[in-house]
Assembly symmetry: C2
Homo-oligomer: 147 residues x 2
Amino acid sequence: MFRLSKAAEYAIRGVLYLSGKEDTVKPTGIEEIATAQGVPPAYLAKLFQTLGKKGFVRSVRGHDGGFVLTKTPSEISFLDIIEAVEGPIFLNDCLINEGYCANDSVCPVHDVWGEAQKRLLGFFSSCNFKELSESGLKKRKKLKSKS
Amino acid sequence: MFRLSKAAEYAIRGVLYLSGKEDTVKPTGIEEIATAQGVPPAYLAKLFQTLGKKGFVRSVRGHDGGFVLTKTPSEISFLDIIEAVEGPIFLNDCLINEGYCANDSVCPVHDVWGEAQKRLLGFFSSCNFKELSESGLKKRKKLKSKS
DNA sequence: TTATTCAGGACATAAAAGGTCTTTTATATC
DNA sequence: GATATAAAAGACCTTTTATGTCCTGAATAA
Ligand code: SF4
Ligand code: SF4
């Protein structure tokens, strides 16, 4: 169906929420993040668990625990988070490695997938969470001034 | 998982095969197409059935029947065939229509999906089957000259 | 020590992908 | 007209992926 997973959507919005916090030291509980973004808490917890393993967030257990970003928002790209939760993106199996499909040396379709993937990944890796967060503030301000 | 479906891959390779034929009048049987491309015949038949409904191929039943392209290869885009077999592409539900997600007026993520989708669709619609077929011939020639 | 909060993993459900098969209908040829 | 051929239509099946939930255990601050 060629659609982003909820996993990616939720994870990104979670990281976005953390990116919007001024206090970058105090951990934020998963419950707070989930409620703020309106996503299933238990699922988000799973996702943040893997974000932790991949090193994008640090987790603090126990009282007043939660999650903190380990990098500044400008250093985290969209692609980072997408790939962290859904694994590396391959538009088609034959892009995994040369020779995966025996046909790829003569197949013109292969090149199209390759180019499409290159462009898509390039775009996603060009989006960072600092920009994203700022653009969110801007949108909110614009909406307010209208009403 | 963000991957093209086999359906799209098979359909595209089927159309590509037809695009490579000089004789544009005599129908080509699904069995021939499937064997030439190494894809499951029954499945490909289903796919061509829907390609027929969408008007990209014309079908002839009975003895010496099969499929013929209804347009010249240069008029058929990658996107045409992909969308014909998997339905319209939406990277995320909120792109289906404005207001699908109540949040989209303030959500910065929305815009990223939108831009990514715009670029992807733009690229796919810029690829036509005449170019594709020619690039296939070129690749084959190059490979031959090497061996 | 106790309440809190994440980690890890098992489990559940539903949807989609990928594919087969059978029956019916249209067509060309003998 | 009979017959062989080939697509149309739709039922059916299996496997994989997506999207969660829940429980138990471990860390930690108050
Ligand atoms: S696109 Fe070409 S190379 Fe890639 S899997 Fe399909 S046939 Fe093989
Ligand atoms: S990206 Fe933003 S607008 Fe789109 S569904 Fe997610 S929250 Fe809603």
